[in-house]
């Protein structure tokens, strides 16, 4: 028997065409109509957004409870009243709706209408409009991903709503009025010349196909909504950045036809960016790896196709031979289950903690600082906190390029909810359009800036003394340090006007109240601009001190968020692919060590493993002879690539397991073809700690296998050769792996694939089956008990500073249209078309002074190498600073230039600052490249990062 629960949401009955339905108070009539399963047109009704009321096709007649004549109202925006009689099928309502639909399809090229509009017109007895067709011009095909054809447009406004109110881009609007009204970009320019980011939210909303993808077909516009025999819809999680957007992938005949956002997904709320919407087709690229490859004929030989059996046997034998000189790199693009099996293999079978992943290159300093100061290395809050925050402090994150959907939420918080944004970035990033304050420190001087902000907050009494007293330690010692750093002193160091520092400090410590006057919180959001420095850990510490000082952590609308870069970099870390801790961040010297030894039935190593950046040195030194690299391309993603290449070339044996051939795989002795996210089950964990399901929607190409299955098979073969018991790697599927993880890792103890299927993504920690997940960490106390202030002082800004011969500072980062090294985005024609070559952004005055113009080929040279890139003149740059994304295009990659100097605590390289000069292509490398020891830039370095003999 079932229990009758009290109704929580007040609701009442109405009748629709005589049928009683129950709707919640405040519901619109359309909800009642839907509850009664009446197929009423609603051409302009956006998904998961407030109604627009523009198409006027959802008209119904309503009789109130008190009697009175029937009123004709639009169902989408008229609230249902208790006891109302709603009639969708009355003669008058049908006649008027038919009249509106007649006018609507009369806008189309053939008078018959398109998509949903045509379907409803036919249902109202209209095969074609009674008016002569009068389609609107023009057609715009300039966008690389979709076409606008006004001849199919009914001006419902959903695309504009999607652009302006959902994504908060504002690229398109209705231009003109009356007979000239049309969808267009500002000043009716070509679409590609607008600020459009090609997220395709507009296309997803178009009911007629006036906005139509150039490849594939959106469901709404297909006119084939009922013929679903050859169509599948699969809900999965985006494989690109760490936002973790929910995607609904429509597949027809084993081809991706269309990708929609999922309005129910709490991380993405129905949004996607251009990569999520239009960038999945790499999975069906013809050059996917389909068979194992073995290099025959020694190091100089060629990679040739082999059987799985031969390849796996070879790998197992070589791995056995390399015990003691082995390391593995796991993939932050693969699933939690893949990562877990990978680290289990490295630890339990290979007997080493030499396991790491690309987190080393992105948020390692954040993790170091967070672990020290609050006891947990993850984001403390949820994206939902940005929605309700009063102040958003966005530091070193070009969010619109790197986390586009979070950027949309940030813009919405500012534009719709009156939040104040402070951007800290040397570059004038897109978010500056909505920011109240933009601070532009010199690269590498963040510590001085944040110490000075703390100084102001202390000086002006804006700090939360009660929070500091009750929840933190180390305050007094820290205070003595920041009291020395006045805003004027910081201005001298970082170039930010002292008054701006004061304004920012006040705005962070006293968040902007809501429109209703209610107090709100401050969210601290940061990215690689903080971490990828030789002082990255100190930068993060200085930032986190601000949150502790003001108590802006652990409550609604506040918190600290290092935005994670890769789709599963959080999960890969959680799963234990780190050299210094077991799964769930449990240390080697704690009780967990014995737990894992018992569970896995082996003795586990206790010595710290190697960080991936140190593995390069170990290869050169000869102590690391064999590498197992899964889903990573270090030969483009690591700094100082000439050096990295030398290191990999010195290996005895390199196994690369991936979905495409790439620079690292080309050096491998064995290449193993893996299934992509599109072809397997598993989970990704996003930047807000939300564990979400990944589901297959395509068959794996050729003989490609899931990563975990390949690793498990290698493990079994190694065990067999070593004559150990063959056990611990016989998983029936990803679900079984997850169950093992949940049984060992307290942070996900309450999760299973089954629960995620039922409830959707949940945020760890989830300690038990009934626990709803944890949107906010540290509500009552920090993971380490008390939060710890750590005093840090501004050191040299960078290991390598501009000099006379290398006068510019080179900043690297990412482009919206490419994913990291470009291995997958180069396989998406639209994305490649957006950014086909590596470009260097330069201030126009610098370009003029050098005699270069937009589009020129220029040579960038550092002490470590040269590349030729296309010049892009851009006022978002300051003079003296250059920006190049680290994607490899046409063989050009900026990491040939970058410095491999490391931040000591975290091992992250300094991607964000090195000294570079700009010259004409073909200029010979002058005596710029000194001896290796001088180039290597390993810490410790002297003041200013200069070494004896460096010329200035």
């Amino acid at each position: 028997m079932t229990l009758d629960l009290p109704v929580r949401v007040p609701s009442f009955d109405v009748t629709v065409d005589g049928r009683a339905v129950r709707v919640p108070r405040g519901a619109m009539i359309l909800e009642a109509v839907d509850a009664a399963q009446v197929d009423l047109p609603r051409l302009c009704r956006p998904d998961a957004r407030a109604p627009l009321g523009a198409c006027r096709t959802c008209l119904v007649e309503v009789e109130g409870a008190g009697g009175g004549g029937a009123r004709l109202v639009a169902a989408c925006h008229t609230p249902a009243a208790e006891g109302a009689s709603i009639h969708t099928d009355g003669e008058r309502a049908q006649r008027i709706r038919r009249g509106v639909l007649d006018l609507t399809i009369g806008m189309s090229r053939d008078g018959a209408g398109q998509g949903t509009a045509a379907r409803h017109a036919r249902a109202h007895g209209l095969a074609a409009s009674s008016y002569r067709p009068r389609p609107r011009a023009p057609r715009d095909e300039t966008n690389l991903f979709f076409t606008l054809d006004m001849a199919d447009c009914i001006l419902c406004g959903r695309c504009v709503d999607a652009c302006q109110r959902t994504q908060h881009i504002g690229a398109i609007g209705i231009n003109g009025r009356g007979p000239t009204a049309h969808v267009g970009v500002a000043f009716d320019a070509a679409w590609e010349d607008s600020i459009c980011t090609s997220c395709g939210q507009c296309v997803s909303q178009c009911p007629t196909g006036a906005l139509m993808p150039k490849r594939g077909l959106p469901a709404r516009a297909s006119g084939r909504e009922v013929e679903t025999s050859s169509v599948t819809e699969t809900e999965t999680t985006c494989p690109y950045c760490g936002v973790g957007c929910g995607l609904s992938v429509r597949v027809e005949n084993d081809r991706i036809a269309w990708v929609d956002g999922m309005p129910d997904n709490q991380s993405s709320q129905g949004m996607t960016c251009v990569k999520g919407r239009f960038g999945l087709e790499f999975a069906q690229s013809p050059d996917r790896l389909t068979h194992p490859l073995i290099r025959r004929g020694g190091k100089g030989g060629a990679l040739e196709r082999s059987t799985w059996d031969e390849a796996l046997d070879l790998v197992a034998r070589k791995f056995v031979a390399s015990l003691g000189s082995f390391a593995g790199i796991a993939s932050a693009k693969a699933t939690n289950e893949d990562g877990y099996v990978m680290q289990k293999f490295v630890r339990a079978v290979m007997g080493t903690n030499n396991i790491d992943h690309c987190s080393r290159l992105c948020h390692a300093p954040s993790v170091v600082a967070l672990q020290e100061m609050v006891g947990s290395g993850a984001t403390s809050n949820s994206y939902a906190d940005y929605d309700i925050a009063g102040t958003l402090l966005v530091v070193g994150s070009d969010t619109a390029q790197n986390h586009p959907v979070i950027a949309s939420r940030l813009r919405r918080a500012v534009e719709d909810r009156g939040a104040a944004m402070i951007v800290v970035n040397p570059i004038r990033i897109d978010l500056c359009d909505v920011a109240e304050i933009h601070l532009q420190p010199h690269p590498g001087t963040d510590v001085a800036l944040f110490n000075a902000m703390a100084h102001v907050i202390l000086d002006e009494g804006l700090w939360d003394a009660a929070f500091v007293e009750a929840r933190t330690e180390g305050f007094e010692a820290w205070r003595r340090v920041v009291e020395q750093v006045t805003p004027e002193e910081a201005e001298r160091r970082c170039g930010v006007p002292a008054d701006d520092i004061r304004r920012a400090a006040r705005l962070y410590a006293r968040p902007r109240p809501g429109r209703d006057g209610a107090a709100r919180g401050s969210c601290l959001i940061w990215g690689m601009g903080v971490t990828q420095h030789t002082n990255g850990s100190d930068n993060a510490r200085a930032l986190i001190n601000l949150a502790l000082l003001t108590g802006q952590v652990g409550g609604p609308g506040n918190g600290i968020s290092p935005l994670r870069g890769q789709n599963n970099v959080q999960g890969c870390s959680d799963s234990g692919c780190l050299p210094n801790s077991l799964p769930g961040y449990e240390p080697y010297d704690g009780p967990a060590h014995a737990k894992y030894e018992a569970a896995w039935g082996v003795d586990l190593p206790r010595a710290m493993g190697m960080q991936s950046t140190h593995m390069i040195d170990a290869m050169v030194e000869g102590t690391l002879r064999t590498m197992y690299v899964v889903g990573e391309n270090p030969l483009i993603s690591d700094p100082y690539l000439a050096h990295t290449r030398d290191a990999f070339a010195s290996l005895d044996f390199l196994v690369v397991q991936d979905i495409f051939m790439h620079e690292t795989a080309e050096m491998a002795d064995v290449v193993l073809p893996a299934a992509s996210f599109a072809e397997k089950y598993g989970t990704f964990t996003n930047s807000e700690r939300r564990v979400q399901l990944v589901r297959p929607f395509l068959p794996a190409p050729g003989e490609a296998r899931e990563d975990w299955a390949i690793t498990a098979e290698i493990a079994r073969r190694v065990q067999r050769i070593l004559e150990r018991p063959v056990h611990g790697f016989d998983y029936a599927g990803a679900g079984a792996i997850f169950d093992e993880m949940a049984s060992l890792m307290p942070i996900i103890a309450g999760l299973s694939h089954g629960r995620l299927e039922r409830e959707g993504g949940l945020q760890w920690p989830v300690p038990d089956d009934g626990h709803p997940g944890t949107p906010t960490l540290f509500e009552a106390e920090f993971a380490s008990g008390r939060g710890r202030f750590i005093a840090v002082e501004q050191g040299p800004p960078a290991a390598e500073l501009p000099s006379r011969r290398f006068p510019y500072t080179l900043i690297t980062g990412r482009s919206l249209y490419h994913w990291h090294t470009g291995v997958i985005t180069r396989r998406v024609p639209g994305l490649l078309g957006q950014v086909p070559v590596v470009a260097v952004d330069m201030h126009p005055a610098d370009a003029a002074s050098l005699g270069f113009a937009e589009g020129d080929a220029v040579q960038l040279a550092t002490r470590r190498g040269e590349i030729v890139a296309e010049l892009h003149v851009d006022t978002r740059m300051r003079r003296g600073e250059l920006f190049v994304p680290f994607v490899q295009l046409q063989g050009v990659a900026v990491n040939f230039l970058t410095n491999d100097a490391l931040d000591v605590p975290s091992g992250i390289p300094e991607f964000k600052a090195c000294a570079v000069r700009v010259e004409r292509p073909g200029t010979p490398a002058r005596a710029g490249r000194g001896p290796r020891e001088q180039r290597k830039g390993r810490a410790p370095v002297g003041p200013g990062g200069l070494r004896p003999g460096d010329e200035r």
């Binding site: 006027r56 509106v100 009369g106 209705i174 429109r515």
Partner: protein, 492 residues
């Protein structure tokens, strides 16, 4: 009819800002229509100072001037023919005790008959109504508005007291008043006259409405092309502010008044479009609910009134309050202009036309309400005028040779052009209606069916009423729409 007697605060203000003017002055009526016919260049060679004033509503009289002596106001019309001896005689005091214009009380009492200074306005009774309201509890003001029968002069004639009550009920919210002075439709020029000719009356009305409802912030939305009206109003606003009137010098709570203008367009007079326009959004209407009185400008409870309504609100404490409506009268008539018409059961269209000098039998019809309006036929001219059917009051007199069918098509074309484009029935319907009217083969039933759809389904009144003049013309002048042979040379 008399205004209320001054409160002590008002008496103090009058004493502080006293009118110091010679006993005889000549007010030269400039403003848009006067300047258009050279009012600025009339040579007065008399021993009285000449002061610029706005149009007093007698558009037909321009260029005109009014001689002002104590207790005597005498307008002289058509001075382009020269300054008449009668005017000089009037300046000398040798003149009949008769008055020009439409009366000394009511909304237009001071219209164009003041020199634009606060002192002159105070001397003529300005702010007396607000001085009374400032001393009353807000519910009493609402009662007074109710008793005076104050209704919305923008056309819908909704009871102002009811609206004030709805807004006042949001006791704790930060409410706003929005004044609709857009007046974008053809044939209506009353609000522009009020802003140019007696801006302090609007300010006073704003203060009374704010006092009644507890509003502290007001926005005045003035047509972007009415630059003179905006300049004059802002000048008056500055004077009122300097005199402390916005800031409790007459009692009441401080009120901020800001001026906003859009880029123009008929639809910008629709009240929810104004809210979008002020917010910086595209000028398209909002659906209701929510109603503006609950969630309007920036989501705040919002009282929206036509400028004339608030000007009329200054008379609710008069005894008795004058039940008048401003009627901008234009077209084929000898004396076009702005008429303040008593709506007391005694006035008829025939009376209005007589004031305007129209010869009986020379009027084919009146177009009342412009592109959203209807045709009034001579058969209705003797019926007493009522407030609600007057709408906003815009009236165009159509002479015997007026081409009704062409006028109807022009109105349809205007609506099609001015449709904002937001909703399908209006955007498409207005264009299709024009097509049907231009096609001689059109079946009447199709027009009726389309108008039914536009009327029932449109998002706002622009589309909802766009079919009204067509329906009216088809009913009143069916013969004008008889299928006719295409004229020679026209396209098939």
């Amino acid at each position: 009819m008399t205004g209320p007697s001054p409160t002590p605060a008002l008496a103090e203000l009058r004493a502080r800002i006293a009118l110091r003017a010679p006993s005889v002055r000549i007010l030269r009526h400039r403003g848009t229509c006067g300047d258009a016919v050279g009012a600025a260049m009339i040579p007065f060679d008399l021993r009285a100072p000449v002061v610029d004033a706005a149009c007093d509503g007698a558009c037909w009289a321009a260029p005109a001037a009014t001689v002002v002596r104590a207790g005597h106001r005498h307008r002289f019309a058509r001075l382009d023919r020269g300054v008449p001896e009668a005017l000089a005689a009037c300046v000398r005091g040798e003149c009949d005790e008769r008055q020009a214009g439409s009366g000394e009380s009511g909304v237009a009492a001071r219209l164009g008959r003041n020199d634009g200074t606060l002192a002159d306005v105070l001397a003529q009774g300005g702010y007396a109504g607000y001085a009374v309201a400032a001393g009353l509890p807000p519910p009493r003001i609402i009662e007074a508005a109710h008793a005076a029968g104050l209704t919305g002069r923008g056309g819908a004639h909704f009871a102002a007291a009811t609206k004030w009550g709805l807004v006042a009920a949001h006791a704790d919210a930060a409410k706003v008043l929005v004044v609709n002075a857009e007046e974008g439709e053809p044939g209506v020029f009353k609000d522009r006259h009020l802003l140019e000719g007696d801006p302090h009356r609007l300010i006073e009305g704003i203060l009374i409405a704010c006092r009644a409802t507890g509003i502290r912030d007001a926005y005045v939305y003035i047509n972007g092309q009415a630059r003179n009206a905006r300049a004059v109003f802002e000048h008056a606003l500055a004077d009122a502010r300097d005199a402390g009137i916005l800031d409790s010098s007459l009692g009441g709570a401080p009120v901020t008044i800001e001026v906003r203008s859009g880029a123009g367009g008929y639809v910008c007079g629709e009240e929810s479009v104004i809210l979008n326009s002020i917010e910086g959004e595209r000028p398209v209407p909002r659906y209701r609910p929510p109603y503006a009185t609950d969630a309007g400008l920036f989501g705040r409870p919002t009282l929206i009134h036509n400028a004339e309504t608030l000007c009329a609100a200054t008379t609710i404490f008069d005894s008795p309050p004058p039940p008048t409506k401003l009627v901008p009268l234009s077209g084929d008539v000898p004396r076009p202009g702005l008429y303040e018409v008593p709506v007391d059961g005694n006035m008829t269209w025939a009376g209005v036309l007589a004031m305007a000098g129209a010869a009986p039998g020379r009027v084919q019809a009146l177009l009342l309400g412009g592109p959203s309006g209807r045709f009034v036929l001579p058969g209705e001219f003797d019926a007493p005028l009522e407030m609600h059917p007057l709408g906003a009051g815009g009236t165009v007199v159509l002479g015997p040779r007026a081409d009704i069918a062409r006028i109807t098509r022009e109105l349809a074309a205007y609506n099609a052009r001015e449709s904002c484009g937001e909703c399908t029935p209006c955007r498409e319907g207005t264009q299709r209606l024009l097509e049907l009217l231009e096609d001689p083969a059109t079946n009447r039933d199709r027009i009726d069916a389309l108008i039914e759809v536009m009327t029932a389904a449109s998002l706002c009144a622009l589309g909802g009423m766009a079919g009204r003049p067509v329906t009216s013309a088809l009913a009143a002048f069916p013969e004008a729409f008889e299928p006719r042979a295409p004229s020679e040379g026209s396209a098939p």
